[in-house]
Symmetry: C2
Subunit: 213 residues, 2 copies
């Protein structure tokens, strides 16, 4: 399973208007684009991906919203569609455990530390100055990305309590969703190479049976 | 200059509601995400990029909308923001020449063939089965991408009247905006390497002065 955690430092924790995601909803647009980048292929969904959004904005922080690629329904690639499912999740009374709001989307009370502890995996923390992802292999990875505000000192300290590495996607500082696209591409290439070496080509996995020419 | 042309086969050619970009506006959401992917860095704009959108939907096709990275204003990363500037452009009476609707955004009557002829550059056509972009260098490139419907036979024939190549971004079929992110990353890496070899490190270009560790 490929897990992504994205922290929305201002993302609101009550139902919001779909017409002002960047403003009134606290840069909810960033989180919505990360959901898109993590889950969508051109004609399908990445079923081996889970996305955890950490909502830290008013009025009732912190809350966690989870999208599961193998279960999710009613999700289209546009920002407003992801936002609408997040809003539906926020309409639920959040508990200390996961409650499903729509198929494949769940919500709970909880902070960044709670989801780290629940997943209890080695952390790959994406940061501008991190070690280049090119050529790296990621087995059952957990990627952690900040929003436009990056990551707080407290959040970095939390990461340091886990086995972790700091990774970067290239020479320029990019939006979180663009980083997610680059991470997937690196993993897609590695998986494609493995498949072409070890398995039958026509396994309906969505991978092309011809190598990129 | 890095030019991108994205063809919206159903994208409407009259002002539309910002609340239904995928439906009533004819998958305008795809074009908006491409504008984002082409122009945005984490804390700034890619000034050396122009994006041309070919709108081929009803009621008055075809129209061209251009975003110029070195001029554009009032553009935020969210889909609705790009959509709102496209809508403002569609409120103008389109002519046979470019008319600026807001700073850095212009509109004209015209089709895919018109923008190809205006730019008159070698074409890099992004297609699922294209030759891998990794390791390629792109000098003053013109990238052409289709929307969810890909490219028509007629459009492919137009491309073939220019010097061109067919390029691909990896083993899976991806959304156009994800392809744009991958193209930029490849070019960013090449430019970074050139700069670290040939020029002073602190030139305020936004490139990090330290190599990715």
């Amino acid at each position: 399973m490929k897990d992504f955690i994205i922290i929305g430092h201002k993302a609101v924790t009550a139902p919001f208007s779909l017409n002002d995601l960047p403003g009134a909803a606290g840069r909810m647009d960033i989180l919505c684009r990360c959901v898109n980048a993590a889950l969508f292929l051109s004609h399908g969904m990445r079923r081996d991906v889970r996305v955890y959004l950490v909502l830290k904005g008013e009025p009732a922080p912190p809350k966690l919203v989870r999208f599961e690629g193998n279960e999710v329904r009613y999700l289209s690639p546009d920002e407003r569609s992801a936002a609408s499912l997040i809003r539906k999740a926020l309409e639920k009374s959040a508990q200390e455990f996961w409650v499903e709001s729509t198929p494949g989307v769940s919500i709970r009370k909880g902070d960044f530390g709670d989801v780290l502890s629940e997943l209890n995996k080695r952390v790959i923390y994406l940061r501008e100055d991190g070690e280049d992802i090119r050529g790296k292999e990621f087995e059952d990875p957990l990627f952690v990305l900040g929003d436009h505000l990056g990551m707080t000192e407290e959040e970095e300290k939390l990461i340091e309590t886990y086995e972790h590495e700091i990774a970067g996607v290239g020479p320029l500082s990019l939006h979180a969703d663009h980083c997610v696209v680059l991470l997937h591409n690196e993993m897609d290439r590695k998986e494609y190479l493995k498949r072409s070496t070890y398995s039958e080509p026509d396994d309906n996995s969505g991978y092309r049976t011809q190598a990129p020419a």
